[in-house]
Symmetry: D2
């Protein structure tokens, strides 16, 4: 039994929609997982300690996660070293292709690596993590579901 937190920031609802699909993907994975779905603002940095997997979604603002999402990571410094070995994943919703979506996801993954976390890419489509351009289309929603499943599967192997 593992626990996975899905944390997002969403103003237009696009990133939120992806977050909900990530949760569905976690539930589809083999092995039982409890899922927590919260916004970055309402996530206390102490909660990160309770989760085996942490999946974070942010809108693409200037090619990076929003200040709200960044603020959660800045606050997480009180637990530096304690997230070592947890599994991470990231997704984003952007205005257009080539507009900073990959750099947003990589920024999220970089912060996870600095925490000593474990991340996985995918050899199919959005390699670093799922990207929606505008309102998430079928492809972006499917990618979000697959991200949830991928993280949950890895969590089950490592902590299940």
């Amino acid at each position: 039994m593992t626990t996975i937190g899905v944390v997002y920031h969403s103003k237009t609802g696009n990133t939120k929609k992806m977050a909900e699909k990530v949760v569905e993907g976690i539930e589809e994975a083999e092995g039982e997982a409890t899922t927590v779905l919260k916004t970055a603002e309402e996530t206390d940095e102490d909660e990160l300690l309770n989760w085996d997997g942490i999946i974070v979604g942010s809108p693409t603002y200037y090619g990076l996660p929003s200040a709200s999402v960044k603020d959660l990571f800045d606050r997480s410094v009180t637990h530096h070293g304690e997230l070592e070995g947890k599994v991470g994943g990231a997704f984003t919703s952007a205005a257009n292709r080539g507009g900073g979506n990959e750099t947003t996801i990589l920024a999220l993954l970089e912060m996870m690596l600095i925490h000593g976390m474990i991340v996985q890419g995918t050899s199919k489509k959005d390699h670093y993590g799922p990207v929606a351009l505008g309102k998430p289309d079928e492809r972006a929603l499917k990618g979000s579901r697959e991200l949830g499943k991928r993280v949950a599967t890895l969590c089950a192997k490592l902590f299940g």
Copy 2:
């Protein structure tokens, strides 16, 4: 009168097509510019010295420029310091969105920054540089033309 080199690597012809549009864009810019269009393999590192602007295009191979394009930059080390202040730009052709196209362009720009070169983004569409997904569509070709024009305009201001 400025000189701008457009260097590319292309296997399928997609990046080459973009390169040709970059050349068109240079010609549209105000101020006269001589343009040199070559593949990365046929570009001798000494030639870089002759150009005020250097625009490089590569296919996206594993989220980075191809080994051929990288090899040109590796060879350019003999002229380290001598490209300082030149203007650069980058473009790429990738298989799909979210598949490493932004990281390819940023990798190209990083190499230019390490040479002390000057690069400019754009507030519209593909911010770091134009991206084609598969066969370049109208949008990618227009972005390529705009990149050529942007670099030529900056070269004219700085060296014209």
Copy 3:
């Protein structure tokens, strides 16, 4: 006569010290420049419009600029397109080498490119922008001065 804003966020004083050296560098450059030195929190996004050059410094927090610095860029979206063609530069103060300092500077430069701004690297030492590890040493302070001079020189060429 050009105007250059130096914006920073600093908790320990390390990034602030670098910011002050950046200002010294601007004053050393040929061509007159007015300099404005402010923290990211006290910088209103409207002020960005008044500056020909914008140099931003941030501590390295999880391999990225701090949430305060990010927040300034998020707020700058009201002026998206209006910073096109301005000159940018970035610097950071980090806890240790290999600890995210380069990714912090690149994140700052990426945001500037998305605004359509112009950035320049250097072929010497800290290529993307000056990095201090802990309390800024002579090397970091010299690099900061050089950054100020580099941006001011480019501003003078383009807008002087």
Copy 4:
């Protein structure tokens, strides 16, 4: 019993020295692992299939892996999809701090993520992977050993 390949490119011997320490680290880890140590040039892309973990080291050339290392990844496309779920790690030897070492390591990790591989950072010191500045000092050698141990430990958990 797992198998881990350590692949490097080294001209001055610095990256090679780190590679040897990575191997030592693998041997220190709990769980038995067979190690293969090779240069990028002598590594056939087919061999990648035999390894549970792939650790790659490159000198920092213009902020990216060398063309030889890039060429191995370009060749690996024949096995795209088949490296999914393998464990990766990266290290680099650079001329100076702030000079592109982090971007080199991230470039290596990006290529691994695009293959669907699993990578882990560390909350201590060189977060993305060990960095040597010039001739590897004690710190860089220790970091290399820890990288080997970290990858071997994760391989043992996942495939042992």
